[in-house]
Amino acid sequence: MLELANVTVQFGGLSAVKDVSLRMGSDEMVGLVGPNGAGKTTLFNVISGLVKPIHGRVLFDGVDVMHEPDYKRARLGLGRTFQIPQPMHELTVRENLVVAQRFGAGRVDAARIDEILELLQLTEQAGRDAATGLALQELKRLEVAKALATEPKLLLLDEVLAGLETQGKRLFMEKLREVHARYRIGILIIEHDIETISSLCPRVVVLDFGQIIADGTPQQVFNDPAVIRSYTGVEHA
């Protein structure tokens, strides 16, 4: 359903993403890992239309979306979250979801919004000001809720699990599995923690210095010498 073909991004002469090709199906849950600065978020930005690659194509549902602006990609079914939460300011939590649903999914369905609020444990906070009234973890859940409200076919999650303690992480992972199964949404998730990603995703893609260095089951990937080198080299330096 999502296909990246030879995507290359440059920032001021430096390649942030180099010749990346990737395919994933609509029933998949894929982990995207790699050291800081490997180009994971940049890749998300390319997919959602915030960054223009100098080379390569992005196909979604078999359609070339390279020339579709960011808001159109959201309407086509590409939902995303930001690593640093970006709530819509001056709106309540519920209004955030209403706007996302109305413009992203093109319809208004209060029941579905209640469902999403419930799922992400934001029902109590629904009336609060999103930008000022939420704690960090609530903001992260709002990120996911907003993306879900657009009724996406593919969800791009940027480190939504980071900073959670073990119990919270386990709960959130349950939620993600539920979202994946209930709404039949493909999920591409950026995550640092190897253990988390291994238990969540049957398939893991490793990015290093802007290039894919491994792609396979967690077992294959994390036993790959190149991956071990990149992880031990950067993470434990």
Binding site: K72, G79, M88, V98, V99, V108, A131, K146, A147
Partner: protein, 312 residues
């Protein structure tokens, strides 16, 4: 009917019936009120663009001038009926505002001054294209508003009813947009445009609609003015006053509220004409400058919210 709606109905009735009944015979007072309401109309349009669209304009005279010339020319050269020419003038103002679409991607000050540039360009064009506009000589004997259902709309009381109706329609439209999902999305865009775009909001398109709506309102008000004073010249129709007064009015009343621009316009215009002008026949605008500066420094949200906060 709840209390708020009841109050609103009483206010509407008073505006429509009481004001003409009390002041109807006094041409001077009615003229003053109509002029204040003209400023109020532009102030609403300005505040709509500023509050919902998040864009400050220094050039609403552009739309006002285009609207007034369009309506005058439609009625004089093509013989259109006045009441048909007025909305058409609004649409023509929208057409001209489409020339400003590239300016939408500019941020605050650049947008504000780009619009100012358009106002200047339009004024010069109106002066230079004398085959159409009769240039600096101006247009005179512009048709007045017609008689409708036995009411002479061209009389002071009739014109008053027309402008009040226009303002009511503008406010209703503004309120509707603000309450709609578009209004919610626009509110979100001010500080978080990217977050709003990635959930599917075409922010540039929404801003464009606000520009169009604002241009339409201002154009119609310009047309109304042309048919009430029956005379136009470029320096008047595109004059800076049509940009400045509404800004001061909207800021004074509170440009984030619905009624602020109207109340602000009534206060500012009447104070300016009755008090400042008698104190300082020339240069009375200095007081407007002082007022605007004081508002920005001490109550940037306007007087209405200030009162509300005191009483809260």
């Amino acid at each position: 009917m709840n209390q708020r709606n009841f109050l609103f109905a009483v206010l509407l009735l008073a505006t429509y019936v009481l004001v003409p009944a009390v002041f109807g015979d006094n041409n001077y007072v009615m003229g003053l009120i109509i002029s204040a309401l003209i400023v109020a109309g532009i102030a609403i349009a300005w505040a709509l663009l500023g509050n919902l669209g998040g864009m400050v304009s220094f050039g609403h005279a552009a739309f006002f001038g285009v609207g007034s010339y369009a309506s005058a020319l439609l009625t004089m050269k093509l013989g259109w009926p006045v009441l048909l020419a007025m909305p058409m003038a609004g649409l023509i103002a929208v057409l001209f505002s489409a020339a400003m679409l590239p300016a939408l991607r500019l941020s605050g000050p650049y947008f504000a001054l780009a619009i100012l540039a358009y106002a200047q360009i339009f004024r010069i064009l109106a002066t230079e294209m004398d085959w159409l506009t009769q240039g600096a000589k101006g247009l005179s004997r512009i048709p007045t508003l017609p008689v409708l259902f036995g009411i002479d709309l061209g009389s002071r009381s009739g014109s008053y009813l027309v402008i009040v109706t226009l303002l009511a329609a503008f406010i209703a439209c503004y309120a509707w947009v603000r309450r709609s999902h578009y209004g919610t999305a626009l509110r979100a865009m001010h500080d978080s445009e990217q977050a709003t775009r990635v959930v599917g909001v075409n922010s540039v398109m929404l801003k464009a609609w606000m520009l169009f709506l604002s241009a339409f309102m201002t154009g119609v008000i310009g047309a109304f003015n042309a048919h009430t004073i029956n005379f136009l010249e470029p320096d008047y129709a595109f004059g800076g006053g049509w940009s400045v007064l509404p800004i001061v009015a909207a800021i004074f009343g509170g440009y984030r509220t619905l009624s602020g621009p109207v109340i602000g316009a009534l206060c500012i215009y009447l104070i300016d004409q009755l008090l400042f002008k008698s104190l300082l026949p020339t240069g009375h605008q200095i007081m407007l400058g002082v007022l605007l500066a004081a508002m920005i420094l001490f109550a940037p949200d306007g007087l209405l919210p200030l009162f509300r906060r005191r009483h809260a």
